[in-house]
């Protein structure tokens, strides 16, 4: 079975109601406007980046920290580490809770990897963000509300699929993450109008499946 959703597992979701100033500063928050922190670990980093961005659309919070762990969830440092720690900061615990709820909802119902072959030994993340939130729009240098295709796959698949996506749709490259990323994947952020982003994501996923089926094809 291909292109089946691989649901992310949220390993932990916690709040710090009133974080110490040192902690706030260390994790990039601004003590003058942030009081509470919300923390999440998950076994899919890219899903979580998208979910963090989603959270900024539902609550007045800032994503102050989001980093992938080296080598990914299969080589995590602990049961709860996963492959990402995301930290959101807000003026009060309720706001943070609201942001976390949006984040969890997004992870449970939207953002996820998909299997590109039988047995899901190859995963692809061909995600279309209809409307960017405040976090990723800043990371990408785009405006909140723009559409973006957030495309991730293992190195060889990603390279070929990146090419296919660029050729398949009227999209513009925002940022390319050549391999290895911290989780040893490769990624591309493409932007354009929504339908073009969708076309790009579809072409990307199809190309990954095709490479997975025929890894040897050069003559």
């Amino acid at each position: 079975m291909i292109l089946e959703a691989i649901p992310p597992t949220i390993l932990s979701v916690r709040r710090i109601h009133a974080a110490h100033e040192s902690v706030l500063r260390s994790y990039g928050a601004d003590p003058s406007k942030h009081t509470s922190l919300g923390l999440v670990t998950c076994d899919q980093d890219d899903s979580t980046y998208v979910a963090l961005d989603e959270a900024t659309k539902h609550a007045p919070i800032d994503v102050v920290f989001a980093r992938s762990f080296y080598a990914g969830a299969n080589h995590a440092s602990g049961r709860l580490s996963g492959e990402i720690l995301g930290v959101i900061a807000g003026p009060d615990p309720d706001t943070v809770e609201e942001g976390l709820m949006a984040l969890v909802r997004c992870l449970e119902h939207d953002a996820c990897f998909y299997s590109a072959d039988d047995g899901a030994t190859i995963a692809v993340f061909p995600h279309v963000i209809t409307s960017l939130g405040y976090y990723l729009s800043e990371e990408a240098g785009l405006q909140p509300g723009d559409s973006m295709a957030y495309l991730v796959a293992p190195p060889i698949e990603a390279t070929i699929a990146f090419d296919a996506a660029m050729k398949a749709a009227d999209v513009r490259l925002v940022r390319a993450f050549t391999p290895p990323t911290q989780t040893n994947y490769a990624a591309a952020w493409l932007t354009g109008i929504l339908t073009e982003c969708q076309a790009a994501a579809e072409a990307y996923a199809e190309a990954v499946v095709e490479v997975a089926r025929r890894p040897w094809d050069f003559r």
């Binding site: 959703a5 995600h127 994501a201 499946v209």
Partner: protein, 304 residues
């Protein structure tokens, strides 16, 4: 559902993976059956043995579980093959001439038609009729006819021997015997037309009989007094099972000659012919009583 999930589901549908066949379940390793031999206790039934002593039919063969024993099955298949081969053998066109016989042919065109159209096998074709009128001795006492019938194998096997024995027996009794002839694609009633054409008092056709299990070489002899078209089976007398394991050709030739003598004496044949005086000589052909069973020949040998 989210935009991306809808998108990927549509792609999956397009790639034909939305409703794929379920992957075949793993076949569990099948244990080899224990190498055990179940010896069959060979029991004997005196009833079966007695019954089998009276016939060549397949009786008293026992069974292994719900099936026949292997050697019985092989024997049956071999015997059936012999019968099939005999039915499908065709008498070569030049065989009659090579044996010094007058070649005749019925109206049948080929072997397939011969099996399907008995009516055509009972009439001579024009050419044979001309040849018969021109070359055969007319107005004879006995007209023997060799023919292929349903088993050309039998005809080519012991046909000549039977024909000569019978002819010699007749000449020995002082009767005139017709030209020896051989008819291809012939049925029994062909003797009516031949006998009528040559003006014979008694016609006797010697032909291969319908093959049975293991018996593809059997000959039958049919005899009719005053052969005319329109004679029926009730007008004929016959001797069957003429082969090495039944009635040997030499004996059959003598019995036929005795039967012909009875016909010439009583001027009739068939059911009205009284053979009661010849019971000792003719055996079953006269009485219809008990007949010694023929001996079954083993075609297949198996380790028992």
């Amino acid at each position: 559902m989210s935009t991306t999930r809808k998108l990927i589901e549509a792609l999956r549908e397009r790639l034909g993976q939305a409703d794929p066949l379920p992957s075949p379940p793993a076949i569990p390793r099948i244990q080899a059956p224990p190498a055990r031999v179940f010896p069959t206790a060979r029991t004997r039934s005196c009833y079966a043995e007695q019954a089998a002593a009276h016939t060549a039919a397949i009786l008293g063969i026992g069974h292994v579980g719900t099936r026949y024993a292997t050697d019985v099955v092989l024997q049956f298949q071999a015997e059936l093959a012999v019968a099939h081969d005999a039915v499908h053998t065709v008498l070569p066109d030049d065989w009659a001439q090579s044996q010094g016989l007058l070649p005749l042919k019925s109206r049948v065109e080929d072997h397939h038609q011969f099996l399907l159209r008995p009516d055509l096998g009972r009439r001579l074709d024009e050419e044979s009729l001309e040849r018969l009128r021109g070359n055969a001795i007319q107005d004879v006492d006995i007209q023997p006819i060799l023919a292929d019938g349903l088993s050309a194998v039998a005809t080519m096997g012991s046909g000549i021997r039977l024909l000569e024995t019978f002819s010699n027996e007749c000449r020995f009794r002082g009767w005139t015997v017709g030209t020896p002839m051989c008819a291809k694609y012939a049925r029994v009633w062909l003797q009516d037309e031949i006998g009528e054409t040559v003006g014979a008092r008694v016609a006797c056709i010697l032909l291969g009989e319908r093959p049975g299990l293991g018996t593809g070489d059997g000959l039958s002899a049919y005899m009719v007094y005053e052969p005319r078209m329109g004679k029926t089976d009730s007008d004929r007398n016959m001797i069957s099972n003429i082969h090495a394991r039944g009635i040997v050709p030499e004996l059959a030739g003598r019995q036929l000659a005795m039967m012909a003598g009875a016909m010439l004496d009583q001027k009739t044949s068939g059911v009205s012919l009284d053979l009661s005086g010849l019971t000792a000589e003719l055996g079953q052909a006269a009485s219809g009583g008990y007949r010694e069973p023929q001996r079954r020949v083993r075609l297949v040998e198996t380790d028992r």
